[in-house]
Symmetry: C2
Subunit: 191 residues, 2 copies
C-alpha cells in the first residue's frame, strides 16, 4: 500500500465514521459497525488508526482547527472590535458549510470521553474569545449598550450553529446568502 493510497483510505474512513457517529451517536457505534458501513475489515481500520476514539479525535479536530484558524486571520486581530466580530461571524458560517459533517458531529458531542471533553473545552475557549469581542464592541459603543455579552454571544452562535440542522450543500441557499442573512442579524445589534 503506497502512502497515497493510505491517505485516501484514512480520509474515506473519516468521512464514513463521522456520518455514522452523527447518526447513531459515538457511544452507539462499534468498530464492527464502522467496518461494515465502510466496507472494509476491522483489521484494515486498525491499520489507519489505533482506536475508535482516535477517529473521533481526528474528526473533531478537523472542525475545531478550522474554527480556530479564523482567529489567526489578520481581520480577526486588527481594526474595530465590531469589524473583527463580523469577520469571525462570516468565517464561522463559511467553515460550518465547508466542514459541515465535522462541525455537525462537534455540535452533537456531549462529553462522555476524554476526547469529547477536550473538544468541548476547545469550543468553550472559542466561545470565550467571541464573547470578549462582543463585550469590546459594546464598550466601544458600536453594539447596543443594553446587550448582555454572554447571552448575545450564545444566541448569535446558537443561530449560526442551528444551520447544521437544515443546510445542505447544493441547496438553493448559497453560503453567501447565508453569510448575508447572518450578518443582517448581527448588524441589527449595532447602535
Amino acid at each position: 500500500m503506497t502512502p497515497e493510497r493510505a491517505r485516501y483510505d484514512q480520509e474515506s474512513l473519516l468521512v464514513v465514521a463521522t456520518q455514522v457517529f452523527t447518526e447513531r451517536g459515538y457511544d452507539g457505534t462499534s468498530m464492527e459497525d464502522l467496518a461494515r458501513v465502510a466496507g472494509i475489515t476491522k483489521s484494515s481500520i486498525y491499520h489507519h488508526v489505533e482506536s475508535k476514539e482516535e477517529i473521533l479525535r481526528i474528526a473533531l479536530d478537523r472542525a475545531l482547527d478550522a474554527l480556530f484558524v479564523v482567529f489567526s486571520e489578520p481581520p480577526s486581530s486588527s481594526g474595530a472590535a465590531v469589524d473583527r466580530l463580523r469577520h469571525v461571524v462570516r468565517r464561522t458560517v463559511e467553515v460550518l458549510v465547508a466542514e459541515l459533517p465535522y462541525v455537525t458531529l462537534l455540535l452533537r458531542v456531549r462529553g462522555n470521553t476524554a476526547t469529547e471533553k477536550a473538544a468541548l473545552e476547545r469550543r468553550r475557549t472559542f466561545d470565550r474569545q467571541v464573547r470578549a469581542l462582543v463585550a469590546e464592541a459594546i464598550a466601544d459603543g458600536d453594539l447596543r449598550p443594553e446587550l448582555d455579552p454572554a447571552l448575545t454571544e450564545r444566541l448569535v452562535f446558537g443561530m449560526i450553529n442551528s444551520v447544521v440542522e437544515w443546510y445542505r450543500p447544493r441547496s438553493e441557499t448559497t453560503v453567501d446568502d447565508l453569510v448575508a442573512a447572518v450578518l443582517a442579524v448581527v448588524d441589527g445589534l449595532r447602535t
Copy 2:
C-alpha cells in the same frame, strides 16, 4: 389504584421517558430500559400506555400543543404583523422554557416512525405560519426589505431553539432575560 394515582404515575413515566429518549435516542431505548429507569415493571407501564410510540406521541404533543396554543392567543391574530411576530417569538421562548424537556425531545426527533413524521409535519406547519408573519412584516415595511422571509425565520427560530442546548431552569438567566435578549435581536431586524 385510584384515577388520581394513575394520573400521577403516567405523568412520572412521561418525565422519565422524555429524559431517556432525549439522552439515548428513541430508537436506542427499549421498554425494559424505561421500566428500569422509572423503577417500575414493564407490565405496569402497559397499564398506562399501549406502546413506546404512544409515550413518544404524548411527549411530542405536549411540546407541539403548547407551541400551537401561542397562535390562538389574541395578540397573535390582531394588530400589525411585526407585533404579532414579536408576540409569537416571546411566547415561543416562554413555552420552550416551561416545557423544556418536551421541546428538547421534539428538536431531536429525526422522523423514523409515523409519530416522529407527524411531529415534524406539525413543526413545519408552525414554521410556515411564522414565515408568513415575517413576510407580512417585511411587506408592511416594518422589517428590513432586503430580508429573505424563509431564511430569516429559520435563523431566528434556530436561535430560539438553540436555547435548549444550554438553558437550565434556575440558571442565572431568567426567562425574562432570555425573552428580552431574543426580542433585541428581532427588533434589530426592524426598519
